[in-house]
Amino acid sequence: MPFTKREGGPGTVPAGLRAAGWAVLVAVGLAGWLLSMRLGEPARAWRALLVNSLFFTPLAAGLVVWSAVLQVSHGEWAGRLERLTRLGLAFAPVSLLALLVLWGFAGQWAPWKVGAQPVQGAWLHPDFLFARDVAALVVFWVVAAVYVSRRARGNCRRLAAWLIVTYAVTFSLLGFDLVMALDPTWYSTLMGGYFFMSGMYIAIAAWTLLSVHHPAGTADRLHDLGKLVVAFSMITTYLAYSQLLPIWYENLPHETRFELSRLRLGNWQWVAWGLLATVYMGPLVLLLTRWSKRTRWFLGAVAALILVGMWVERWWLVEPTFGPVAGLGMTEVTITAAFFGALAMALELGRRLVPPAPAEEEAD
């Protein structure tokens, strides 16, 4: 059964008009971004594109993976809310396009110069790096697409398990390649794990934000979502701390360069304190009470705060490698607006294309 108008979001605005509005936002955002690139620093503009790719791609992919997690764990508590997660599939073309554009213009921004990495050699050749990342992302989205189509016909737990494994491998690779390798002399075995788990955190916050506007988002379901948000904030914090502590402890120059540039140098340290207060420790405090998890507006506000915070966290992962001064400007705002519009359009499209699963209707 297709979503009713009310279920689709703000019921008073027709879907076509909403889609047009998002398209305008995309166009304006892209135009602003191109203009800022022409007037300002092109490399920074490309990095802003990378930041948004690293935020919105795990968001959309993680949404679909949450559906798979529910399948594998026999979780039926979400009812029709589960369908919201599968809408993330519609963002696949945008995520791939962004990566292809980053590949195409790698010469203008990427730190990997051909023949300049004596240690990693061809592994960090820009073409090889992007080719494997694009290939991995294509494989992920194909598995996700097959999963979503099978899910519409019923349970498909085996495929769901494969989707989770594919997600972990793909997004570990993206984390190692597009975050860790931005500084080719720095390395951490945990970066891949941190990247894919924090992607799930972004996705659960996004799912929560979508759910508080959905009629199937009952107090009990919002309560469960709130608990998951807290759990994933703690997991993400744990992984960030696990990476920080051994580096802080050993104090080896080739390791501390990553943490120092984010925690001590320039004004990035204030960003770090802000992240600690919002995305790492914030949810545990804000969502401690039962009321906070069952109240639509409050839970939605916390989810929105986390999403904003996690965007900043992606920016904080990328930018300090290239400079000690944190500065947000038109470049970052415009491309983020374009990605946001693209995600909203994709979700609108997904509402039409992604069919509900039989069990979801029964659960309600």
Binding site: T189, L190, G193, Q243, L244, I247, W248, Y249, E250, N251
Partner: protein, 626 residues
């Protein structure tokens, strides 16, 4: 399990406490002898010195420390099954959770022995404890070994509390059964009466118990992650090749849960048969454990792949040569055995036929146990025997003393588990009954939340006690008497009935405030202890500031969990009025088995009206209470 009645579940679980057969005694005696032999060898080691062990430079940490890591890991599955799966409402955990919790406690006890054994002169262990000595020497809270002491002690205390609290309603059932069978003066009856703390199954007790148990689970869940992370930091904080890597905490935690789940299978497959628990512990539970092991084996596999790849990627010559040595040196055989034992063997569980075959499950669990023990020993020994300086590279062979003490540790663990299985209910009876109740009802809708203000029935006051066989009838009777204006009521139940408290309009338990205050005090206290000691010592070690907040988070976190748990326990004991073995005068022993009691406090003149109302509601028996 769904087809069982309360009484059958009672008989199955408590029937396991019957006097054991000869085979049991033979096994326990053999295990006890092996453990005693290990104790004798420990004394021998103390007498002769550490030279009788194979550890020597450069391998100063041998299989004693490997054993420590392995046994801490084994402990993890108990908390996973009891706490984490409780939070995510995975019902399959019910029948095996108690055994897993007991396993946790005994595994932590076993693990805790090895630092002492490794220490040599173990009586100086108190140097590492944070206590106010007259010499004003405080431990350095920057040391991972101090974190270990704090984390493992916290884990042991929390695990014991978690296990003990979960046991209380079941001990009451054992008490009532033994009092009926042996009489109230029999020593066993007295023993269970004392340790059941006066549990009567009153709705008010269940209210505080349920809330406290939830908080125990919520506190134990991050604790379990922290404990093995702290253990992993014993290595990751070292600069040795192969040790200093950021992935160690989640890798150790996943490996710990992996080995712990394997141990659950190893123990429970034979135990369910020995204790005749086949109706409660079914292949469904084993299937779920096997599925969980697929996940943990994949995480372990992820770490196995990332480690050598990152050694290559880093370009660090020490990491690269160490990775190469692991694959080609004298430990290569162990290295190559890890993937087949810890990854490929449990991945056989993707096949349903393997998951449903008890012999196959048992064999794979043994393989994983062996593989995880080898992995722990490999991590400990490998890096120390092949570090930065080629002229110090030496192989290591455990001595006969180390091998025998290792075997003795397994015997000690199994001895404790066997002893537990015949003295305590190995299946959480109250949770089994709750599952039976849920299955029976299939939730016809939440009970309406009442607004009546309920008063406690005083001991001196009379009333009417109705006994019901069906909880729904009892709840209907409760609604009826409340509608008639009676406010002094209490409900007795063998199972947690949240509806009873909802109908009576009782608020949520105040235990949560105790927990919050305790947790906050622990966090502040942890920082206070570390910063205070640092200010007193004023030591600058490794170029670090004397008071360093980043590592002190560990101590503060453990303090949060420890004091939060203790405060939670105190809140539950105070509000549920537990401690004294005395029971309410109207208490009926069947209330812990399969009957439900509704006590209505009233004046003598009203007794007949109440009696009529309760009879009309389907009460099986009516008693006047004076």
């Amino acid at each position: 399990m769904a087809q069982l009645t309360y009484e059958q579940a009672n008989d199955d679980v408590l029937g396991a406490l019957r006097p054991p057969r000869r085979l049991y005694w033979v096994v326990v005696c053999v295990l006890g002898a092996l453990a005693t032999w290990a104790l004798a060898l420990w004394i021998y080691q103390i007498h002769m010195g550490m030279g009788v062990a194979g550890i020597n430079q450069p391998v100063a940490w041998g299989i004693y420390i490997g054993n420590f890591v392995f046994w801490v890991g084994i402990a993890h599955s108990g908390t996973l099954i009891s706490a984490i799966l409780h939070l995510v409402r995975a019902r399959w955990r019910t029948a095996i959770s108690r055994s897993a919790e007991a396993m946790t406690v005994f595994a932590v006890m076993t693990a805790g022995l090895f630092p002492f054994i490794h220490l040599g002169r173990f009586w100086v262990f108190y140097y590492i404890l944070p206590y106010p000595s007259e010499r004003q020497i405080w431990p350095d809270f920057l040391s991972p070994l101090v974190w270990d002491v704090i984390a493992i002690s916290t884990y042991l205390i929390v695990s014991v509390i978690f296990l003990s609290v979960g046991l209380v309603p079941d001990l009451a059932a054992a008490r009532d059964r033994l009092e009926e069978a042996l009489g109230p003066r029999h020593p066993r009856s007295r023993f269970y009466r004392t340790i059941s703390l006066g549990w009567s199954g009153g709705a008010d007790q269940w209210r505080h118990y349920g809330r406290a148990y939830l908080f125990f689970a919520a506190l134990a869940t991050p604790l379990v992650v922290s404990v093995h992370s702290v253990v992993s930091w014993d290595f990751a904080m070292g600069i040795m090749p192969g040790w200093h890597t950021t992935i160690f905490p989640p890798y150790f935690v996943a490996g710990a849960i992996h080995s712990g789940l394997a141990m659950v299978l190893t123990l429970l497959i034979p135990m369910r048969r020995l204790l005749h628990l086949e109706r409660l512990i079914t292949p469904v539970q084993f299937d779920a454990v096997a599925r969980a092991m697929i996940v943990t084996s994949l995480i372990v596999c992820y770490a196995y792949v990332i480690e050598p790849w990152m050694a290559w990627y880093s370009g660090n010559i020490f990491e690269r040569q160490f990775a190469w040595w692991r694959a080609t040196g004298w430990l290569a055989l162990v290295y190559y055995s890890l993937t087949p034992l810890n990854v490929l063997a449990p991945l056989a569980f993707v096949f349903k036929r393997v998951r449903q075959s008890l012999p196959a499950l048992f064999v794979v669990s043994i393989l994983v146990n062996a593989g995880m023990w080898l992995e722990r020993a490999f991590i400990v020994v490998g890096s120390t025997s092949h570090d930065f300086l080629p002229h110090t590279w030496r192989p290591y062979t455990p001595s006969w003393v180390e091998i025998n003490i290792t075997i003795g540790a397994f015997a000690f663990f199994l001895f404790c588990f066997f002893a537990f299985s015949k003295t305590m209910p190995t299946v959480p009876l109250n949770e089994v009954k709750l599952d039976i109740e849920r299955e029976a009802r299939k939730r016809k809708g939440e009970a309406a939340v009442g607004t009546a203000r309920i008063e406690r029935v005083r001991k001196s006051q009379g009333g009417v006690l109705a006994v019901f066989g069906d909880p729904q009838q009892m709840l209907a009777a409760l609604r009826s008497v409340l509608a008639q204006g009676y406010r002094k009521v209490e409900v007795y139940s063998p199972v947690r009935l949240d509806e009873a408290n909802c109908i009576m309009g009782r608020p949520r338990s105040p235990v949560r405030f105790y927990t919050l205050v305790g947790a906050l005090s622990g966090a502040v206290g942890g920082f206070w202890l570390c910063i205070g000691a640092a200010e007193l010592n004023k030591l600058i070690a490794g170029g670090k500031p004397p008071a360093a907040i980043i590592p002190y988070c560990i101590v503060a976190f453990e303090g949060t969990i420890l004091l939060g748990t203790i405060a939670n326990l105190a809140g539950m004991l105070i509000h549920a009025r537990l401690g004294s073995p005395r029971l309410p005068a109207c208490y009926d022993r069947r209330f812990s088995r399969d009957k439900f009691g509704l006590l209505v406090g009233c004046e003598a003149a009203q007794a007949e009206t109440v009696r009529q109302a309760l009879m009309g509601a389907g009460a099986e028996e009516i008693h006047a209470v004076h």
